[in-house]
Symmetry: C2
Subunit: 338 residues, 2 copies
Amino acid sequence: MLTIAVDAMGGDHAPKAEVEGAIRAARNLGVKVILVGQQDVVGRELQQHESVDGLPIEIVHASERVTMDDSAARAVRMKRDSSMRVASRLVRDGCAQGFVSAGNTGAVMATAKMVLGVVPGVDRPASVGILPTVEGSPVLLVDVGANVDCSPRMLAQFAVMGDVYSRIILRRPKPRVGILSIGEEEHKGNELTRAAWPLLQALNVNFIGNVEGRDIYGGKVDVIVCDGFIGNVALKVSEGLVEMVKHVLQESLEATIARKIGYVLSKAAFTDFRKRLDYSEYGGAPLLGVRGVCIICHGRSNANAIKNAIRVAKEFSEGTINQRIEEELRGKAREAGD
Amino acid sequence: MLTIAVDAMGGDHAPKAEVEGAIRAARNLGVKVILVGQQDVVGRELQQHESVDGLPIEIVHASERVTMDDSAARAVRMKRDSSMRVASRLVRDGCAQGFVSAGNTGAVMATAKMVLGVVPGVDRPASVGILPTVEGSPVLLVDVGANVDCSPRMLAQFAVMGDVYSRIILRRPKPRVGILSIGEEEHKGNELTRAAWPLLQALNVNFIGNVEGRDIYGGKVDVIVCDGFIGNVALKVSEGLVEMVKHVLQESLEATIARKIGYVLSKAAFTDFRKRLDYSEYGGAPLLGVRGVCIICHGRSNANAIKNAIRVAKEFSEGTINQRIEEELRGKAREAGD
């Protein structure tokens, strides 16, 4: 049975959401779950639930906990027995096939990179944003913050990794891969995007060229590569704008009709709306390119999001994504005569 | 009386919106307006309106018209008698103090740069995005596409130009100036933002440090500098997301309550909402750093947007913005011993 380690002390609702998510996964997904965290705290939380005896759940002790205030460097240097560190070690040592954390994103990335290392052929792991589109099927944005300054070669690797992930996990048959730029023509863009074009064209992916910021949510592309600086800005701009839209529209709705009715209606609509925008619905975002499997969840993940992330970790491992990435990149290297 | 030239053949609704906007401006703003375009077409449009005789409006003929499909290079090289070119020449020659165009943005920028030249001390003109915030007062994003690859020194100049514009036109007493980055701490960001920090700190502006994508709409900053590539992506991501939000929310609203009522309510709310998001309400966006005044409007500007842009061009000229920018930059150069 496949085993997934869960950083039980990671998220804002830890260990409650993690424990409940683990129970749901162990019940329904056919996986074994190792909860990593302070033995007594996690054990106590587990006992709150009924009929968990006999479920494939185990607790592994980790004495420390990385907080949202810890810098990534500090987490890696100072907290060697943190729950995320122990969880990633379980993957490295083959005791688990993947791990899930809703903890400090920067710290999870740094820890996974250091403990697990990278897939052969990958220069740097990339963080992925999974965003909703008008069409309903999500789009991958690679990278969204792991690498602020990127080389053209890194962007090409992001394309290969995103393509494999989209095919296997999101089941897109022939993912359309674009590069985030300004203007549609090849020559539009900055130095990095222009230099990346020939590398992207030479890949064994369905490269559709430049896509603009407004296309991210339009459903005409499945994988968008960009450097982590711009990907992070795009992601955060979206978050900020949704907050503003919510604010402005609620005001408008309340002004349009009787205050009370407007509030009730807009609240219902927004709950529905938020759900569509909430990427935790897609089960967390993978850190692509590390050996093993690392799925990063939003800090405010609930039990359902954790369960979904465990599902993604399982599918990631079963889909032998890393092997496929390695093969694709090795093929490329051979063609290039490296 | 101050004179503003208007590219009468620029926007999607040209020359209708331009002529009507010019009439409104000539009636209410105490300016003279020169409509630049095909004499017969513009004249005919003008005659559609009542009691325009005696208004300070003049037509100057230009035989050519730049379309949205023309590249900027082509517009500059091939269409030497275009309406935007003639309008910018009127400014260069002192016959008008500024010009307004709702035409092809790239072509307007290239034309203005070439015909007008730059303010002493400015390396490159910058295009400005004017965006709404939760707080109500708009935020300036500099640059949003004129310069895809920027030096740290250019970002510092953008800060000076944005600061002056925010103070004089938007009447912010002490504009908070930030740099678009990822993470709040000084060391967070990419090579460009880190290199720009000391230059920004040394300026005579209220530099508040890094701001993140989610802060753009939050109202905690008045001027945000960034390279034109990332500014353009941020702008376009916002446009695309608003479209998606509109789509999803209308669906949700219609699902929440009786279809018909939902449609009517959401339509009213969205009209109001769009108005708040529509930056043409702020009267177009300036191209900062060119000698003279150039205000660029959205292609789909209506008469009101054109009138507002003429108002901004007038205020820009009266506020002696370019002189102030030149003085600020000269002061800086002296301190630096250039």
